[in-house]
């Protein structure tokens, strides 16, 4: 969905952290936010991000 070059450009606008890319959203594990991807456009707006929790298996 998001090309490699665009992935390299992006960081979390809130904490400047590295991101994880999924099919329909972009996750900042550091500040636990999920940014939507709409029509192939990464929406890097803190106001439009949703809360994200790590999958249960990764919790200790």
């Amino acid at each position: 969905m998001i090309d490699e070059e665009l992935k390299a450009i992006l960081v979390c606008p809130a904490c400047k952290g590295d991101l994880l890319f999924e099919e329909s959203r972009i996750i900042c594990p550091a500040c636990r936010k999920a940014y939507p991807i709409r029509d192939g456009i990464p929406v890097m707006l803190v106001g439009e991000a949703t809360e994200w929790s790590p999958p249960a298996a990764q919790r200790t």
Binding site: D3, E5, L6, A8, I9, L10, V11, P13, A14, K16, R38, D39, I41, P42, V43, M44, L45, V46
Partner: protein, 310 residues
């Protein structure tokens, strides 16, 4: 050449992105779409064009080199900035700061899209770049005028203090395809009303004057300024001045409309006269507007006709 354009999904920004892509550049386009729209850039999508929905008043990060940072993000029509007064001030102040910081980090050349509104309701006519302006800071238009004045001051401070390679363009009224029909400005208003056969609304008695530049001329001037070594502000506009009443009549004629003209009260602090002195652009950039206003209006009317039929 790799270029970042803030506000790249807006009217001017999208034309600028398009012209940069035509020149072979790779373009990173940022826009929060508060007044811009993806309709303006959908046709630009390619491997050399990257669009990110981003609010440039927040931290901007871009990996890899950048040759130019072009700061075009801002609500720009009176209707928009009166609806978005605080975002307008923020993008002029915080957004300009972030964009300058990015240019500094990347050692990129920075260009600020400023405005003829820095002259306010001018007391000298036509306006040369060395005129300091007549702006009401607390009036309804102050949010835009002062944001841009602050942005110019910040840009010059980065130039003087950090040695950043900067350019400032003072853009006079510009028109063309992709203006929003509802942005409240005279040309899209008049065209929209004329095409629908509705009365064309002129504010005041229509004797206030403006000068209108066709967008392709403006983009050409911006390119020339980017390539120049001019750090001081440069006016870009068409010195061919006309009254708004004359403009309304021309649009009615060129669109083959039978709309009548009606008069409404003039808004507060509306500048009465506005005309660029483009001596500096002529001398230093060899720039001159080439598209005749009627020709530009014809192209714009055709475009509005097209979206109206959609």
């Amino acid at each position: 050449m790799r270029v970042l354009v803030t506000g790249g999904a807006g009217f001017l920004g999208s034309h600028l992105c398009e012209s940069l892509l035509d020149r072979g550049a790779e373009v990173v386009c940022l826009d929060n779409l508060s007044t811009g729209h993806t309709d303006n850039i959908d046709h630009l999508r390619s491997e050399r064009f990257h669009f990110i929905k981003h609010d440039v008043t927040n931290y901007i990060y871009v990996a890899g080199p950048l040759d130019y940072v072009l700061h075009f993000a801002s609500p720009a029509s009176p209707v928009d900035y009166q609806q978005l007064p605080i975002p307008t001030l923020k993008v002029g102040a915080l957004g300009t700061h972030k964009a300058l910081g990015l240019a500094k980090t990347k050692r990129a050349r920075f260009l600020l899209a400023s405005t003829s509104e820095v002259y306010g309701d001018p007391l000298v006519h036509p306006q040369r770049e060395d005129y300091w302006g007549n702006v009401n800071p607390v009036g309804p238009r102050g949010v835009y005028d002062e944001a841009k004045r602050f942005a110019e001051a910040m840009t010059m401070a980065y130039h003087r203090y950090h040695g950043l390679d900067t350019r400032i363009v003072r853009i006079f009224n510009t028109f063309g395809p992709r203006m929003r029909r509802d942005d409240g400005r005279a040309i899209p208003n008049f065209i929209h009303q004329a095409l629908r056969g509705e009365p064309v609304t002129v504010y005041g008695d229509g004797s206030q004057t403006r000068s209108f530049t066709y967008v392709s001329d403006l983009v050409d001037g911006i390119w020339r300024l980017m390539q120049s070594a001019v750090h001081d502000p440069v006016n870009l506009g068409n010195p061919q001045e006309m009254t708004l009443l004359e403009l309304a009549k021309r649009i009615i004629r060129l669109s083959g409309s039978a709309s009548p003209i009606v008069f409404h009260p003039l808004p507060v602090d509306d500048p009465k006269i506005r005309q660029p002195d483009i001596g500096r652009a002529r001398t230093l950039l060899g720039w001159e507007p080439r598209v005749d206003v009627d020709e530009g209006l014809r192209r714009t009317i055709e475009w509005f006709r097209g979206i109206q039929e959609r």
